[in-house]
Symmetry: C2
């Protein structure tokens, strides 16, 4: 029997409480699986006296997470405070400097400071683990870093913000518009304090940047993620997509192209019959494509006490078992810096525009698209509303550049307002 593995847990919100609960309730199971006891030496949070539903009096208390990170009786610093900077980063750095391993659920911190933190940890012979930072309970970092490590990864995709998927699937199910569902999600407590983290795609973009780093052996580069939120998606788009056999998802896509690393987090159309298309509600899904394995799909809860604590515990258990890997799967100093390629891979697009009801209007639109080299695969014109009629177009594969050129050149006398363009991601 080895020595106990002693944790210091900073942050006692939903996830921290979940971790405490698993360690208390599953002590025997954890000991059977790791061959040692997993104990909590001390915890830290904003308020000491708050009743969190789990007994904390057995553990030491630190007001300052940095002090917790440095304690002699802590082997692993478990950072569950959140925030890309400030106390979370200070305490993580302090833990590494003090020779502790780190387990964190902090996607923002790692998406922005991951390279520097990984280099510091590896120089100190310590590990940073973050299964809980990406897609909640789904063991996707482990699948990608270890389970599929024999593959040259061609593409990683994911629906990794449950709130956005909830809003989009509820729009279709309840026939309500984006604003009504946004308000409902807010009322249900599904939104971050800054809702743009959710509906703007930032939170999911952080996760995508972490996946891309491991998949392609590149330094994590959140600034290279092309971000677009779901705020402009209308019920009309959802219905039109459905009509043509698609669903609209806030989809993250990372792929290495001849022109650099493409990372996108944006609304996309995916086939209704694909696993991504069939994903309803708040559940997360990650799709990994490798040259040998083909397509692997992983699905599960992306948030919540139990799922996220499960992911934190898998990292803790790995450390308890002596399973140690560099933060991004290979030494941080060997990660390359890839050029960011914006929408480099051609794709079909869905277009929606309001066409003025006059002769030759459609011909003009078709001509502008044709001049930019964008060819039309399918087109639908719906019933008139006042003086303009919605027209939906699915293009053949085209580059975003060509498409943007065409849209910029649309004749304002025939097209009312701004055309909407949504990429169609080709996936089985």
């Amino acid at each position: 029997m080895s020595e106990p593995l002693r944790l210091g847990i900073a942050g006692l919100g939903t996830v921290g409480v979940g971790v405490v609960r698993i360690i208390r309730q599953q002590a025997a199971l954890l000991e059977a699986r790791t061959g040692r006891k997993i104990t909590i030496s001390a915890v830290s949070a904003r308020s000491k006296d708050k009743d969190r539903g789990v007994p904390l009096s057995d553990y030491g208390w630190e007001d300052d997470p940095v002090a917790l990170a440095k304690r002699d009786d802590v082997d692993v610093f478990v950072e569950l405070m959140g925030g890309d900077d400030g106390p979370a980063k200070d305490a993580t750095e302090a833990a590494i400097a003090a020779g502790k391993d780190v387990v964190t659920a902090n996607k923002a911190m790692l998406a922005i400071h991951g390279q520097a933190l990984a280099e510091a940890a590896e120089a100190a012979g310590r590990v940073i683990r973050y299964e809980a930072a990406v897609a909640g309970g789904i063991p996707v970092m482990k699948a990608l870093t270890e389970g599929l490590a024999g593959n040259d990864i061609s593409r990683v995709m994911g629906v990794m913000n449950g709130t956005c998927n909830y809003i989009l699937t509820q729009m279709q199910a309840t026939r309500q518009g984006y604003n009504a569902l946004f308000a409902e999600a807010d009322k249900l407590g599904y939104l971050e304090a800054d809702p743009n983290l959710d509906v703007g795609g930032i939170d999911a973009g952080h996760k995508l940047a972490l996946l891309a780093s491991v998949a392609f052996g590149t330094q994590v580069n959140f600034d290279g993620v092309e971000l677009e939120g779901i705020q402009k998606i209308t019920l009309e788009d959802i219905d039109a997509a459905d009509d043509m056999g698609y669903r609209i998802k806030l989809l993250g896509v990372a792929q290495m192209t001849g022109r650099g690393l493409e990372q996108r987090m944006s609304p996309c159309l995916v086939p209704s019959t694909s696993p991504l298309g069939q994903l309803e509600g708040g559940t997360n899904m990650v799709v990994i494509e490798g040259d040998a394995v083909g397509q692997i799909v992983l699905r599960g809860a992306g948030a919540g006490e139990g799922p996220t604590a499960s992911a934190v515990m898998s990292d803790v258990i790995d450390i308890a078992r002596g399973l140690r890997l560099p933060t991004f799967g290979q030494p941080a100093t060997t990660l390359t810096t890839a050029r960011a390629a914006l929408a480099a891979v051609p794709a079909p697009y869905y277009l929606r525009m309001q066409l003025v009801d006059k002769p030759g209007a459609l011909a003009k639109v078709a001509a502008v698209l044709g001049d930019a080299g964008v060819s039309i695969d399918r087109m639908r014109q719906y019933g008139h509303q006042d003086t303009a009629a919605p027209v939906l177009i699915v293009t053949h594969k085209t580059t975003r550049t060509a498409l943007d050129e065409a849209l910029a050149g649309m004749d304002k006398s025939v097209v009312q307002g701004e055309p909407v363009a949504i990429r169609i991601e080709e996936v089985d």
Copy 2:
């Protein structure tokens, strides 16, 4: 840079060739990810001179896999011959005795001899890895053993025989009966030499026994798997199930009950809208339910050169990286022996029987069911055929014992032939 990791590969069928191909083509990637070279010292197969599409002249050759397993220049013995006994087992034992780690894709050998092999390996300080043995390219052993190790697992389910799922989904898609699709699968080369391994559920049963061992910390017990094949499933069953919102799958289910470990590999109805219900064709799916994480679904190719080689390589890479765990996640000597519980958990059932067309017939069936304590949830009677009409019944939850008692007590003057009973597995 560490020393190279040197493999000896026994078996050069589809999977063996796939492994050789990855090692040759992805040498740089593998070295970047593991920090060392992965090399092949020697190989072994039945015929030395066969052209397998990959160059083998760089490697030593052994006619005898046991000799390969013992070679001084082999660190890891990669067993890809198959067969639960004979050369595969002899060579695996020889490898362990000679102090080698073992990677295998051999589900039959481990489902039957896994406990003894694991104990021998652990006594010798060696590991046995077998990601490729279960659900092909899906990294499910890793997900269960490591990624979800913080969970008390309540149930593991899987569609893990692509041939059966192909036959079942093609029956529905093409309106052909079981025999026609079986013949087609045979012609396409989808069937094992002994087709009962596929359609009888044996192959998938081996996989289930391995999953159950890790999930519940029990000694692998293939004899405790209740097996039922898909041979009796008719197009009529598939249509009736569809009509009531279900799909029929050859589904493996393992769960720990108050009466022991229940392991079943049998046709089941699952909701059409569930991920399992939506699984078409030869793809595999494993569903894991844990107390903290909830439901995790993993989906991917269950067979084929690339996917299976990908899984073998993940084990090789783990060994190259120094990630070492006991065969079943915890020391083999600590695994418990669970009593086998046959269909201990009550479930609703789908029943199909031919009812003779005379007054009171249905009332008699209902009375027999009621006497055995089996209550009816839904019932459908279809158009007459000759003197008898098919009747479909969905029961409320009942035990298999009560149901069997009811079916045995059916009045032969009103029910023609043998009633068909298929369990409805409750899953989201």
